[in-house]
Symmetry: C2
Subunit: 184 residues, 2 copies
């Protein structure tokens, strides 16, 4: 038996990522986003949804570029901090000690320390209400050398990504890998 | 040091859900979707991205409604099967033994057995290339009674959702819960 729990933005699980942008003066900023995901296979694209009031919104509209930086579990404090502060009054790179690297492909900074970076060019922005959805065409994906196997493929267990649950704002690591052919 | 792994749709992790739709004759269908996520807080909305060639695409365009059904780990076989078959030649409810329930809120069926159902009305559909993104306004969220706590809030450990990794098509359960204030 199912019961209504009312209307709110549920999904199990969400990713949780740090979005990197530059402001008009080229100062790098970071924003934590869980309203993100793949939206298209070709051209390969992801979306991020951002409130108009945020500092990053203006950067996104001006630069039409962003990076998505996927944290490993060791950066749980940093991703939580980046989500609870604003670039208006906080230099998030300085406060976290994370290193901003200028992308050679899009006009946005990425985080050196996080294991995966997706560099995106904004294809379109659409106002949905509280949030604006930015569709970002993937221009490149970069992965830390330590997280690649011998075939140059990313290894999920080495990336050790974090899952986010919107309902109670909790974070989880990934657990056991399921084998559909075996597991029940 | 980061290395390029080329352009493809990466995200760590994605959700993986079964989307329920009716065809013109009212026959229920299911489709597995990992290109999904929250896109707006108000009106609370999620997106699903679907290829035009799929059976569900036609249903979505005609009915302008869908449900998102979140599997628990015990349904890994079913979610994998639903993703590898087409409603054109397979009755996925019959083959999996899952129960189709007619939503009272939107013109779409949901899965009785999966722990969470999100009932959605299509606000807009936009062709992005290979995939079309459907923005669904959340009309209700339903959770199995067994997965609610005494305050009527969903309990993630009881829902036991599945995470999907696009790079290698692998599935994971959630593991340890992280506490940003404590964990490092």
């Amino acid at each position: 038996m199912k019961e209504s729990v009312g209307i709110s933005p549920f999904m199990y699980p969400c990713p949780v990522v740090a979005v990197g942008t530059y402001n008009a003066e080229g100062k790098p900023n970071l924003m934590t986003v869980a309203w993100t995901g793949v939206v298209n296979g070709n051209p390969a694209s992801i979306s991020i949804s951002v409130r108009k009031e945020t500092y990053s919104y203006k950067n996104l509209m001006e630069k039409k570029a962003f990076t998505v930086n996927i944290p490993s579990r060791q950066y749980i404090k940093e991703i939580d901090f980046i989500g609870k502060t604003s670039g208006r009054n906080t230099d998030k790179f300085k406060e976290t000690g994370l290193t901003a690297v200028r992308s050679k492909i899009v006009d946005a900074p990425y985080i050196e320390e996080f294991p995966v970076t997706i560099e995106c060019s904004v294809l379109k922005a659409e106002d949905l209400g509280l949030h604006t959805i930015f569709i970002g065409r993937i221009m490149d994906v970069k992965v830390c050398s330590d997280c690649l196997d011998e075939a140059h493929m990313p290894v999920t267990e080495k990336i050790s990504p974090i899952a986010f649950i919107p309902g109670d704002g909790s974070y989880y690591v990934l657990g056991e890998r399921l084998e559909p052919g075996k597991d029940k």
